[in-house]
C-alpha cells in the first residue's frame, strides 16, 4: 500500500462530502455581497437548486419566474442587456436541455453576460429517474460558440468556479450535482483558472482525465490501480470548454494511454472533447467512461453509479481492462 498524499487523504476521508448544489447556493450569497448587480433567477426550484439561500439574504434580487424555464432564460438575457449579472438556475435537464435554443439564441449569439447554474446534473439525481437525469448537458452547451462550460469536482472548486464565472464577461455554464461530492481540493496550494486543468496525481502508465463527481472516483481508482501495479496519472478537468489541450497532450505523450471519466453520456461530453483534441496528434488510444448511450432509471445515486461502473471500483476495472488490452 502506497503512502497517501493530501489529495488522496482527502478523497479517502468519509466525513468530508458536500453536494455542489450547496456550494452553488453559498457562493451566490457571497458573490451577492460583492456584486450589487448580481441577480438570481429560479423556476420554482429554489429549495432544490439552493438559490433559496440567496433569496433569504437578498429577496429583492431573487426572481422566481415560476415553472417557465425558457422565459426565465429570456428574462436573464434582458437583465444582462441592462447591466445585470444574472444567474439562472434549474435542474440541468431543464437549464440546458429544455432551454438549449433560448440559451443559444438569446444568450450565446448576443454574448450576454448570463451565468447558467445547472444543478441535479447527471445520473445521481437518482430516484427521480430518466426524465430528470440529464447526461447530455455538457454536450449541448459545448456546441455554443463562446460558452464556457465548467463541471466542478467538489465544494472548493465549485466556489472557485463561481468566482471565476462572475469575473468572466460572457456566458458561462456551471454544472452542479445533487449527490455529496468528496472534498478533494482542501489544500493550501489550490488555485483555479478558467481553462486550466490540473494533474492531481502523477503516473506513467495511463492518464485518467476526469470531471465533476468522477474526479474523486478516478483518484480512488488510481490507488487501486497502483496496488495492481499500474501507475495512473489523474487529471481534473473542471473547464471542459475551453479545454486545457496542452496539459492533456503532455500527459498523453507521457503515458500513451488515456481514459476519460464523467457522469455524462460518452457522446459529446468530456470524453468527446478529449478525443477531438487528441485525435489531431493520435498519441494515445482513448477509452471513454461514462453513461454509454442509454437512459437512466430510478434508483439510489449509489446504486446507479455502481450499475454504470462510475464508482471507484468500476473506474478501476474499466481502466485496468483497457490497460491490459493495450499495454498488458
Amino acid at each position: 500500500m502506497e503512502t497517501l498524499g493530501s489529495i488522496e487523504r482527502n478523497i479517502m476521508s468519509e466525513q468530508k462530502k458536500i453536494a455542489t448544489r450547496e456550494s452553488y447556493g453559498n457562493a451566490l450569497v457571497e458573490l451577492g455581497a460583492k456584486h450589487e448587480n448580481l441577480v438570481v433567477l429560479d423556476a420554482d426550484l429554489a429549495a432544490a437548486t439552493k438559490t433559496g439561500v440567496f433569496q433569504k439574504v437578498y429577496p429583492e434580487r431573487h426572481i422566481n419566474c415560476g415553472i417557465a424555464e425558457c422565459n426565465m432564460t429570456g428574462i436573464a438575457a434582458g437583465l444582462a442587456a441592462c447591466g445585470k449579472i444574472p444567474f439562472i438556475s434549474s435542474f440541468a435537464m431543464f437549464a440546458a436541455g429544455r432551454n438549449f435554443e433560448q440559451i443559444r439564441n438569446s444568450i450565446g449569439y448576443p454574448q450576454l453576460n448570463v451565468k447558467i447554474g445547472a444543478t441535479h446534473a447527471g445520473i445521481t439525481v437518482g430516484e427521480d429517474g430518466a426524465s430528470h437525469q440529464c447526461c447530455e448537458d455538457i454536450a449541448l452547451m459545448r456546441t455554443i460558440p463562446g460558452m464556457v462550460v465548467m463541471s466542478p469536482a467538489d465544494d472548493i472548486e465549485a466556489k472557485a468556479a463561481m468566482d471565476a464565472a462572475v469575473a468572466h464577461k460572457g456566458p458561462v455554464y456551471l454544472r452542479f450535482g445533487r449527490a455529496p461530492f468528496p472534498v478533494i481540493n482542501d489544500r493550501a496550494d489550490y488555485r483555479f483558472e478558467i481553462g486550466k486543468g490540473e494533474v492531481l496525481r502523477e503516473g506513467t502508465d495511463v492518464t485518467i482525465v476526469a470531471t465533476g463527481l468522477l474526479v474523486g472516483a478516478a483518484l480512488e481508482a488510481a490507488i487501486l490501480l497502483a496496488d495492481a501495479g499500474i501507475a495512473a496519472e489523474v487529471i481534473n478537468i473542471c473547464t471542459i470548454k475551453p479545454l486545457d489541450i496542452e496539459l492533456l497532450l503532455a500527459s498523453a505523450q507521457k503515458t500513451r494511454l488515456v481514459v476519460t471519466a464523467e457522469e455524462h453520456t460518452v457522446i459529446g461530453g468530456l470524453g468527446s472533447a478529449v478525443c477531438e483534441a487528441l485525435a489531431e496528434t493520435a498519441v494515445a488510444p482513448i477509452y471513454r467512461i461514462g453513461i454509454r448511450d442509454v437512459f437512466g432509471e430510478s434508483g439510489s445515486a449509489a446504486a446507479l453509479i455502481k450499475k454504470h461502473r462510475l464508482d471507484p471500483q468500476g473506474v478501476f476495472e474499466q481502466v485496468k481492462e483497457f490497460y491490459n488490452i493495450n499495454k498488458g
Partner: protein, 275 residues
C-alpha cells in the same frame, strides 16, 4: 411631429424596406411594411433615444420579437440617424453588419438580438425588470407578430409581466392576420388576442396600426397606465403601401424582382405626392 411629418417619415421608411429587400433579393417585406407606421411612431415620437449615443443607459429599449421584419427596423434606424440610409442595400450580404435578423452586437440602435420567434417578449420583460430593480424610469417596447403568438413562451412572458405589474412594458401586436403558411386564424387561431392578454393581467388597447392619431392615443394611454403592462393590439395591413403586396400572404418572405421593385417604388412615390 405632426401626423403629416410622421406619414412622410413612414413612407421614406417603407421605401427603405423595399430597397433593402430588393437589394438583398431576400427578406420579409410584408410584415416590415405592416409595422412601418408603428416603427415610425416609436422612433420619432414615443421613445427616448439618441442616435448619437445608441447605448445611453437611461434610454428606452425596443425588442423586435418578430425579428424577421428586421428590414423595417433597419430602415427606421437608418432614417432616424443611427447609421447611413445607404447601408440598407448591404442587407444580408456577406460581411455586412445588417444581418438577416437583428444583431445587437453589430447594429447601432438594436437593443436585443432576435429572430427565433417567441423569445423577444421575455428579453423585454427582463429589461423592464432591470429598470424596476434600478428604480430607473426607462420604458421597454416589444413588437410581436400575431402568428408569433402561437409560440408558448410568449404566454410565459405575459404571465410573468402581468404578475410583476410591469407598467413600464408595452407589448405591441402587429395584427396583420397573415403568417407564412396562410391566415393566422386558419393555421392556428390566436384570437381573441385582446381577451387573452387581458386574462394575463395586461391593460389592452385595440387600435389601428396605420392611423397616427390612434397610435398616438394608444401610446399615451399606455404611458398613463399604472400597475399593469400594456398590450396594444394594432390592426394592420400586411404589405401596406405597396399595391401588389397588400394583404397578400405570398409577400411574407419574398423579395421583389426588378420590375416589381419599380412598381413598388412608384406606389410609394405616388403616396408621397399626396402628402
Amino acid at each position: 411631429m405632426t401626423n403629416l411629418e410622421l406619414k412622410k417619415a413612414a413612407n421614406a421608411i417603407r421605401k427603405g424596406i423595399v430597397t433593402a429587400v430588393h437589394a438583398a433579393q431576400a427578406g420579409h417585406p410584408g410584415g416590415s411594411l405592416s409595422a412601418a407606421d408603428i416603427y415610425t411612431f416609436l422612433y420619432y415620437e414615443e421613445m427616448n433615444i439618441d442616435p448619437d449615443e445608441p447605448q445611453k443607459p437611461g434610454r428606452d429599449r425596443f425588442v423586435l420579437s418578430k425579428g424577421h421584419t428586421a428590414p423595417g427596423l433597419y430602415s427606421t434606424l437608418s432614417h432616424r440617424g443611427f447609421f447611413p440610409v445607404a447601408e440598407l442595400t448591404s442587407l444580408r450580404q456577406l460581411g455586412s453588419f445588417l444581418q438577416g435578423h437583428p444583431c445587437m452586437r453589430s447594429i447601432p440602435g438594436v437593443d436585443m438580438s432576435s429572430g427565433s420567434l417567441g423569445q423577444g417578449v421575455s428579453a423585454a420583460v427582463g429589461m423592464a425588470m432591470a429598470a424596476k430593480l434600478d428604480g430607473a424610469d426607462y420604458r421597454v417596447y416589444t413588437l410581436v407578430g400575431d402568428g408569433e403568438l402561437q409560440e408558448g413562451q410568449i404566454w410565459e412572458a405575459a404571465m410573468f409581466a402581468g404578475h410583476r405589474c410591469l407598467d413600464n412594458l408595452v407589448v405591441i401586436v402587429d395584427n396583420n392576420g397573415l403568417q407564412i403558411d396562410g391566415a393566422v386564424d386558419e393555421v392556428c387561431t390566436p384570437y381573441p388576442i385582446d381577451d387573452k392578454f387581458a386574462a394575463f393581467n395586461f391593460h389592452v388597447i385595440n387600435t389601428s396600426a396605420h392611423d397616427f392619431d390612434a397610435i398616438r392615443d394608444a401610446f399615451r394611454e399606455a404611458r398613463l397606465t399604472k400597475g399593469k403592462p400594456t398590450c396594444i393590439v394594432a390592426q394592420s395591413l400586411k404589405g401596406k403601401g405597396v399595391s401588389f403586396m397588400e394583404g397578400q400572404v405570398a409577400w411574407h418572405g419574398v423579395a421583389p424582382n426588378n420590375e416589381q421593385f419599380a412598381v413598388a417604388m412608384a406606389d410609394l412615390e405616388q403616396i408621397d405626392s399626396t402628402l
